[in-house]
Symmetry: C2
Subunit: 212 residues, 2 copies
């Protein structure tokens, strides 16, 4: 496994990491970044503070490793047989993950915490790159089915489907409801069909090949 910079020589180290990251996640979910301390993670995980400082450096290292673990965890990419339903499933998962407290594997507070340090932001970029890359499979399959043009950049379709949700949740603070999540999937679908995500496609600039 190469998803993490932390040495995982064997069972005990892996168990320690799991306990520490679970504790970090619980603390972050409960108190947010401003309330996150190495002390509280030590108490909750039963792992000595000195070990936490040595392996993770401090709270920002803990936050970054929570994200590294998420990025490395297998994720069930939807495969419904149509790009529309696959994109809807993806945006629904983002929507549900941030609005249903019991659902999210990468809660809002983890992302907010990661945004607060260079180490966290680096882990966040790697996390999203991993997710976009995995989810791009829905586009690869749709190209094979003839739903979208050859050469469509799958990661960019996924990015476009998810961006309006994160924009509302993390930037503008405008409300996010399920119709808005669906609309974001539909918009990415329409753009993908129109060839917007085919790099340097001749004739795109003047609008030929677009809808209507």
């Amino acid at each position: 496994m190469s998803e993490t910079p932390i040495k995982r020589p064997g069972g005990r180290s892996a168990r320690v990491r799991a306990a520490v990251l679970d504790a970090t996640l619980a603390e972050l979910t409960g108190r947010g970044y401003d309330g996150l301390t190495v002390e509280a993670v030590a108490v909750r995980s039963g792992v000595h503070k000195a070990t936490l400082y040595r392996r993770w450096g401090g709270v920002d290292g803990l936050v970054a490793d929570v994200l590294s673990r998420s990025a490395g965890q297998p994720w069930q990419v939807p495969d419904t047989g149509s790009l529309r339903d696959d994109l809807r499933a993806i945006t629904h998962e983002v929507y549900a993950g941030f609005t249903d407290p019991g659902h999210g594997v990468t809660p809002r507070n983890v992302i907010l915490a990661a945004l607060r340090s260079p180490q966290g932001r680096q882990a966040l970029t790697a996390f999203f790159e991993a997710r976009h890359g995995q989810a791009a499979a829905v586009v690869t399959r749709s190209v094979a089915r003839g739903e979208t043009p050859d050469g469509t950049d799958g990661a960019d379709v996924v990015r476009t489907a998810c961006a309006p949700l994160y924009y509302r949740l993390f930037v503008t603070g405008e409300p996010l409801d399920e119709p808005a999540a669906h609309r974001a999937a539909e918009a990415a679908l329409a753009a993908a069909r129109a060839g917007v995500f085919v790099p340097r496609r001749p004739g795109r600039e003047d609008g030929s090949g677009d809808a209507r």
Copy 2:
């Protein structure tokens, strides 16, 4: 003018506000939220600390008022004669505003600072709602020209065009370049033409009326 909760009885009060908000902006641009203090704003603006605390409450009130001022400032909405070029002008402005240090009226640090407090986030939501509402004029005009279907939600077209840029800049940390900004405009255009932003349009669910 109703864009600000601050009383503006006359010239002197308005001049004080301008000096204080300019100083806040300069401090934010230079040091970011973590380095922002009421003391530094007082020194830079020449306005007494007690006045700042009385009128703005503290740094979060100052940040919020910087955004309230931006939201109330007139903004030249593009009017090129085509929705494609209008949307490209908008995404180009967002792109240039965050990547060219001399260009931005609402620098990255102002948004990052606003995200750090409930007062700031409220001002940010109002700011983006104002901008989306103003920019929606490009869609109103395109509907009148017959480029996009009747009933298209203009604010949502603009949101969709801008979201991928903010997603990269403020969430994923993936690089933003000019082609990505153009692609975001093209995606919003294709989706608008396909009728994605017409609320509850019959037949949209099953894909009729979409591109290809």
